[in-house]
Amino acid sequence: MRMLPGLPSSIGFMLFSQAAAAEWRFNLPPPQTEIATRIHDIHTFILLVCLAIFVVVFGAMFWALFRHRKSVGHQAHHFHENTTVEVIWTVIPVLILVGMAWPATRLVLAQKDTADADLTVKVTGYQWKWEYDYLRDEVKFMSVLATPREQIDNRARKGPHYLLEVDEPLVVPVGRKVRLLLTANDVIHAWWVPELGVKQDAIPGFIRDTWFRAERPGVFRGQCAELCGVDHAFMPIVVEVRDEAGYQAWLDEKKSGMARAAADAERTFDAAELKARGEKVYAANCAACHQADGKGLPDIFPALAGAAIASGPAEAHIDLVLEGKAGTAMAAFKDQLNDADIAAVVTWERTAWGNQGSVTQPADVRARRK
């Protein structure tokens, strides 16, 4: 609510003269879709209604506080009932509420109308990343936080999009109705981009849909909005809205990328190549739990540095990463990573931090897939 917009900002100004990171903002971010605009307007409308009621009710109360006090010699009047006013102040709020509910009802119906989409993307929440699957175009990729660990740990200056940047954004064409099919793989997440006016929980085992139609190109940022474990704060969402041509170009490039990745799985890598790739995969998928140094977190996430599994038979190691461990936070990665990535990350785990395990190839992984 922005009843006293000036007050906090002036306090803030007195307290922090050093440059503020952003301008003060007291309302929803600038809307970029029709739905978001309508949400914005309804919110402003209710706010004003509440403000008006507040002024009337507490105007009366403060009047009484100043005029009807003992210290100014006011005598108490002993009335304690008046059916007329009681009926009035029951009926008026009902009418006000009806006035508020009407536009909201229309907006709910609009929000829920996911028919006639131009583009459908299946979005899957994982601990702690998003997967985007362009169903018709067979393009599918993971989107992971791109902010370096150093910034989070205050060892480096924070960039302008601190915590709101990803390696691969969701790219959509401008002016098209994009329908999202949301689900999750492990726990509940929620996909939320304020400027697009969209928030929808992603529930494992179920599909829930929502939609948006961005009105202009740009980059819009949001975050997972359902507590999903340790790194809930670190699974942002970035949507890049491009014009039609830009979108097509991106799509073509993605497709050829997918083809290249498929070819990778057939290939044999040399160890250095695997390790380099594995380090990246590890940082993006595993470090959140097992930590960058492979030491894990005591009693929560096991250490991989020096772990028996990392020097034992590679099959056990590959199986564990493919299938995960039921009933623990260790997820099955078989649908999240391709054979080359799994081979790479297993190789990395088996050779990093002083581990003395063997190198594994995509073909080894393929052999273990059920």
Partner: protein, 283 residues
Amino acid sequence: MSTHTGGYYLPAASHWPVVGSFALLCAALGATLLIHDLSGGGWLLALGAAALLVMLVGWFGNVIRENQGGLYDARVDRSFRWGMSWFIFSEVMFFAAFFGALFYARVIAVPDLAGGEQVALLWPGYVGGWPTAGPGLEAAFTPMAAWGLPAINTLLLLSSGVTVTWAHWGLKRGRRGQLLLGLALTVALGVAFLGLQAYEYRHAYVDLGLTLGAGVYGATFFLLTGFHGLHVSIGALMLMVILGRALAGHFKPDNHFAFEAVSWYWHFVDVVWLLLFVFVYWL
């Protein structure tokens, strides 16, 4: 030291409540350890259960002695009636949670999983229906048929409701033989019910493949019937205590709330069973 104020009996300081708290502390810790296969869990749980038993015997013993000593007036009796009614209401709500889960799963979750995008993208080939083990489990099981044992059990419990009422009539009219016989029959019927229920569980696990893990059907089936069975056991125990007290000549035609409380409870357990029979076994 007790006080007798304005007629309302106020008990003196009592150590039984803290014994009860200690019991639950041990039981909770013990159960947790046991679940996680840590040492000492079983012992701690047993200690907790024993302490709880001691507490119940001691506490209710107190109440019985006070009652026999003529310390309770009509108002205390009314308090007990209110208290028992609210307690049964809370039990109703406890079962409501599990019935809620059953209805939600049947009416909302399972049809949802078997329809729309769920089938297309996540659970290909799932057709839903009830009973079901769900779309992602391989568990194959046969549901429990209503018109075998469960129907007999229904009959047993319903007759036990009749016998306990018959015993009550006997009590009110001062016919001691009828009271004792009615109670004994009720206990017998309750125990027979429990025996059949135990047999049915064995049958479910061994022959039908119907286990706790058999999807949401197995989960609702066992938790609903299990908690019901637990309540029947408690009820049967209370009936035995009441039978003992009747033998000791505790009840008078105009003063026997303990008996009535137990029979209310028994009727409540009965009603829950009827709902179970209809919604879990039959429909």
